[in-house]
């Protein structure tokens, strides 16, 4: 409640100032390409509200010490000044020397949450506490790092409309150890997600090969399909495609790989979806791609002026979805 009240206060000038600062930092630092070592010159530091209150307290202490002309009180005040400044250095050191090894962003569907992964390395002996990564439109993420460790930090972001979505800027900050200062740095990473159309639409899958019509898909595990070969399970393989029977016999987790007969592929054709708007068509195609992939079918996507060869698997699905996401963008 308090924070929302505060943020409304003078929000416009503050936003303008923040934007100007962001532009300045961008121009000053340029683009970052991981690995990025956080050097001192790109770490900014300012007192927090608690820090300002502490400064006021120290000033009153100084006045009291001078008013009473009391050496001991002044010494106390000076010791606290020293501790404050030490904490400022420590706060700066929470970021200084930290290494961003790699930054990745996952593609996602419009309106859903995407994820970016940041890999940090702390090659130093210090504990880095109170670290916070955030970015506009992202759910902030807190973490800390022990000496000599690496850490992956996930950051969820809200995907907008389909197309390319850039994460313009990440802010990494810490107000450890005392909360009197906040050090931060801005990272301008080449983070770009392709947002796929939101899967939607209830139209049935087009018939295989254009001639053989199958009303409904049949369960794979029923065993009456012919599969050509087995391959090891990889990330992203749907659980339904696992050859559980062979697994039960003691084999490793394998995936049945179908060599579909020629002509047994489904053509997901943009032009055949009459009566739908552009976005609805793309959503339906996206839904179909997902369905086909789940069924382990071979499929191809046809867009006006663009046609993807038939295939299946993660790479194929990705290529299809990207084509759909970027269509006419």
């Amino acid at each position: 409640m308090r924070s929302s009240r505060q943020s409304r206060f003078l929000s416009e000038p503050r936003a303008a100032l923040a934007a100007a600062l962001a532009r300045w930092a961008r121009a000053r630092q340029g683009d970052d390409l991981p690995p990025v070592a956080l050097q001192a010159r790109r770490i900014y530091i300012l007192p927090t509200a608690s820090g300002a209150a502490a400064a006021a307290l120290l000033f009153v202490m100084l006045l009291a010490g001078m008013n009473y002309d009391n050496s001991l009180a002044l010494m106390l005040c000076f010791m606290l000044c020293g501790v404050t400044l030490v904490s400022m250095h420590e706060c700066h050191g929470m970021l200084s020397g930290l290494m961003l090894l790699r930054a990745e962003v996952d593609n996602t569907f419009a309106g859903q949450l995407g994820e970016l992964q940041l890999y940090f390395e702390n090659a130093q002996t210090r504990v880095r506490a109170g670290l916070l990564v955030r970015s506009p439109g992202c759910v902030p993420s807190r973490f800390h790092m022990s000496p000599g460790g690496t850490q992956m930090v996930r950051l969820a972001f809200q995907a907008g409309a389909r197309g390319r979505q850039r994460i313009e800027r990440l802010e990494l900050s810490s107000s450890a150890p005392l909360g009197l200062f906040r050090a931060w740095t801005w990272l301008h990473l080449p983070l770009e997600a392709i947002v796929y159309p939101a899967p939607a639409g209830a139209r049935p899958l087009p018939a295989r090969g254009g001639n053989e019509l199958r009303g409904a898909w049949r369960s794979r595990v029923s065993g009456d399909e012919e599969w050509a070969w087995l391959r090891p399970l990889q990330d992203g393989d749907p659980p339904r495609s696992v050859a559980w029977k062979s697994y039960a016999r003691g084999a490793p987790l394998l995936v049945a790989h179908y060599d579909a007969p020629a002509g047994a592929r489904r053509v997901l054709d943009f032009t055949r979806l009459q009566g739908l708007s552009l976005e609805q068509r793309l959503s339906q195609l996206t839904q179909w791609v997902l369905d086909c992939e789940r069924l382990g079918e071979t499929y191809s996507v046809r867009l006006p002026q663009q046609s993807l060869p038939p295939g299946h698997g993660i790479a194929h699905q990705r290529a299809c979805l990207e084509a759909l996401g970027l269509y006419r963008q």
């Binding site: 606290l80 020293g82 690496t150 150890p177 909360g179």
Partner: protein
């Protein structure tokens, strides 16, 4: 995965050790102030701390808002009633304890705890303002350490390390802060000035007062409190000449001597001769505004430009000496003047209360009749005291209203004050202007601090008489009655029973220990507590800086702060995590660095072979190479002991790898 959403200033549940640190720090601050805050402060704070400690693991339920406001109002009223003010150290710290205690009952958020910590720091300041004795320094330092530890623990929030780790950090931080604090201490200009009025504490100091009754000095000698410390630039005056001159008393009502506050104009100009003594006196707080000096001082100290000399050669400070003060003076032990005594001064120092002490007046007249001149009369009175069977005692019998008659003709037992009083009265009755001088006699040489240590037990009273053509002459009638008083310790003159507890100090090592401790205290008082603008300028002189001004101080301060900041940046610089890294590991890490742009770094759970396989899957062109390198690494690491040549070969193989980011 330890990422979680951020919550701005939500109620935090601090770990119990953090709450203990915070409560301990607060309680320590209250205890350090317990002696001068209102009586209810300590029990109130103890109750609040106990209540909060019971609710260690959960956020406490708050008392109703109107109740809290009501209690706050009541406590403020209690302070107002108790002290009649909210200003000043006592009232202020009482109020602070009250408000911080109330805040303690509603510590839910981090901000609440910060306020309690701030109050505790301020209470520590109040304690420093109130008492600066050396023995308190370790307590203050420990409290500061505790509070800083609490600050660190609070900063770490919900996942604070154990209290011991926080206290270690606090110690380290304070150690770094110390040089900076000393720098500020030495070079921040001490522009002492009153930004707001300070109520004077109505503390009773032991020491010489504005008046002297029979027995008042002997009461004083029971006290072992410090009166003053004197450092001499050169030789010390002989022990029998160490008269530390304080308030001069003129008015006599037959029983009590009082100071005269009227100014009778210029004092007769003195011609000094004999050796000069340069010395610095540190005067402990006392009740009057007389600056004690050796005999008759010359001039006014530089450090106290507002002090002024009076017609009876006292140095008067503009305000009562309510805190230790240091000043430099020069004195001669021998002086004379050819000027006549002014009529007003003669009248002042001859006046006697009419009708009082009739037998003494009679005695004076008879002695005067048999004496030829003032000098002969003085000798006659001293002879009377010497041969009249008078004795010296610390516990004289009570004297009645005509105190001099009672002493001379009934009790014949007295202390310095009694004899000085009787002698001056006899002088005045015989027509010789005379006055009582109170002060101190003697002092103990402290060889550790190299100063003369004068305590209240050295309090003394003597007389000054006017001789035409000679000026004021010091006469100590006690020296006639008890000749040892001038050269021996007071205790040696007195019955053992009166000073039994002091005999303990005869043991040599105890004397040494006490002297060393006193010396340390003196250093603390002079160099630390008494550090001021004048000493700052003196320090500049020591550093060889010519122009003693604020600019020089500011420059030194800036330079020192710069050096400290550089030192601390160096001291806190990032240090590489030392690992048991041999050449093989280094080579493998080089390989991982090369692959950093291609794939996610090797996770903690991945062995090199798995990692190579993963990267190889993403980048098939490297697959075979990486698999071979990983196999080779495993063989070198876990197989038969590898030769240097094999390790070198591996290093070169890694160097050959040229992955291109796809």
């Amino acid at each position: 995965m330890n990422a979680r959403p951020v919550i701005a200033d939500e109620p935090v549940l601090l770990p119990p050790q953090t709450v203990w640190l915070l409560l301990g720090g607060f309680l320590g601050a209250v205890l350090l102030n317990a002696h001068h805050t209102a009586l209810w402060c300590l029990p109130l704070a103890l109750a609040a701390v106990a209540w909060r400690a019971r609710n260690l693991r959960k956020a406490p339920r708050l008392p109703a808002r109107y109740l809290r406001i009501g209690v706050a109002g009541l406590l403020t009223l209690a302070v107002l009633v108790g002290f009649h003010t909210l200003n000043g150290v006592e009232a202020g710290s009482s109020l602070l304890v009250a408000m911080a205690t109330l805040k303690l009952t509603e510590t839910v958020r981090r901000r609440d705890w910060l306020i309690v910590l701030g109050a505790a720091l301020f209470l520590l300041l109040a304690a420093c303002l109130d008492r600066q004795a050396l023995w308190l320094l370790p307590l203050y330092a420990a409290e500061l350490w505790l509070l800083c530890g609490a600050l660190y623990a609070l900063g770490a929030g919900a996942d604070a390390p154990p209290a011991a780790a926080m206290l270690r950090r606090s110690a380290l931080s304070l150690a770094w802060a110390l040089p900076f604090a000393l720098l500020l201490f030495l070079f921040v200009p001490r522009l002492s000035g009153s930004f707001w009025a300070i109520p004077q504490p109505d503390q009773a100091f032991t020491g010489l007062g504005d008046e002297m009754s029979p027995g008042s000095i002997s009461q004083l000698t029971q006290s072992g409190d410090a009166a003053l410390r004197v450092r001499f630039d050169g030789a010390l005056p002989p022990p029998a000449e160490r008269y530390w001159r304080g308030p001069v008393l003129h008015d006599f009502d037959g029983y009590t001597w009082r100071r005269r506050r009227v100014d009778l104009g210029r004092a007769p100009v003195l011609q000094f001769h004999g050796p000069a003594y340069d010395y610095e006196i540190t005067l402990e707080p006392n009740q009057h505004n007389i600056l004690i000096a050796l005999e008759l001082p010359q001039g006014v100290p530089d450090t106290l430009p507002n002090a002024y000399p009076t017609f009876d050669y006292q140095l008067v400070a503009p305000a009562p000496v309510s805190r230790a003060v240091s000043y430099r003076l020069q004195s001669y032990l021998q002086h004379r003047t050819d000027e006549p005594l002014s009529a007003a001064a003669r009248r002042l120092d001859l006046q006697l209360p009419p009708g009082r002490n009739p037998r003494s007046v009679e005695l004076a007249h008879s002695l005067r009749a048999g004496a030829d001149g003032d000098r002969a009369y003085i000798d006659a009175v001293l002879d009377y005291l010497r041969h009249g069977d008078f004795s010296y005692t610390l516990e004289p019998p009570l004297l009645n209203f005509d105190s001099v008659d009672d002493l001379l003709f009934r009790t014949r037992e007295g202390f310095c004050g009694h004899y000085a009083s009787a002698f001056v009265m006899l002088m005045r009755a015989g027509g010789v202007p005379a006055r009582v001088v109170t002060g101190y006699l003697g002092g103990i040489w402290n060889r550790y601090g190299e100063y003369l240590y004068v305590t209240q037990s050295d309090a003394h009273a003597w007389a000054e008489v006017w001789l035409d053509g000679r000026g004021w002459v010091r006469i100590d009638p006690t020296a006639v009655v008890a000749p040892g008083r001038l050269t021996e310790e007071l205790e040696d003159l007195l019955p053992a029973a009166a000073t039994g507890h002091r005999r303990l100090l005869d043991s040599v090592w105890i004397v040494n220990a006490v002297q060393a401790w006193q010396g340390l205290n003196a250093w603390w008082q002079d160099e630390f507590i008494g550090f001021n603008f004048a000493r700052q300028l003196g320090l500049l002189g020591l550093l060889g800086i010519r122009n003693h001004d604020l600019e020089a101080l500011a420059l030194l301060l800036a330079a020192g702060a710069g050096i400290w900041l550089a030192a601390i940046a160096w001291g806190l610089r990032p240090r590489a995590q030392p690992g048991a890294e041999d050449g093989l590991s280094r080579s493998w890490r080089a390989l991982e660095r090369k692959l950093r742009r291609l794939a996610a770094p090797r996770a903690a759970y991945e062995c090199p072979t798995d990692y190579a396989a993963r990267v190889g899957r993403a980048h098939p062109e490297l697959s075979a190479t990486l698999a071979a390198l990983a196999r080779r690494y495993a063989r070198l690491r876990y197989g038969p002991a590898a030769s240097a040549a094999q390790l070198e070969q591996f290093r070169r193989a890694v160097r050959l790898l040229r992955p291109r980011a796809g």
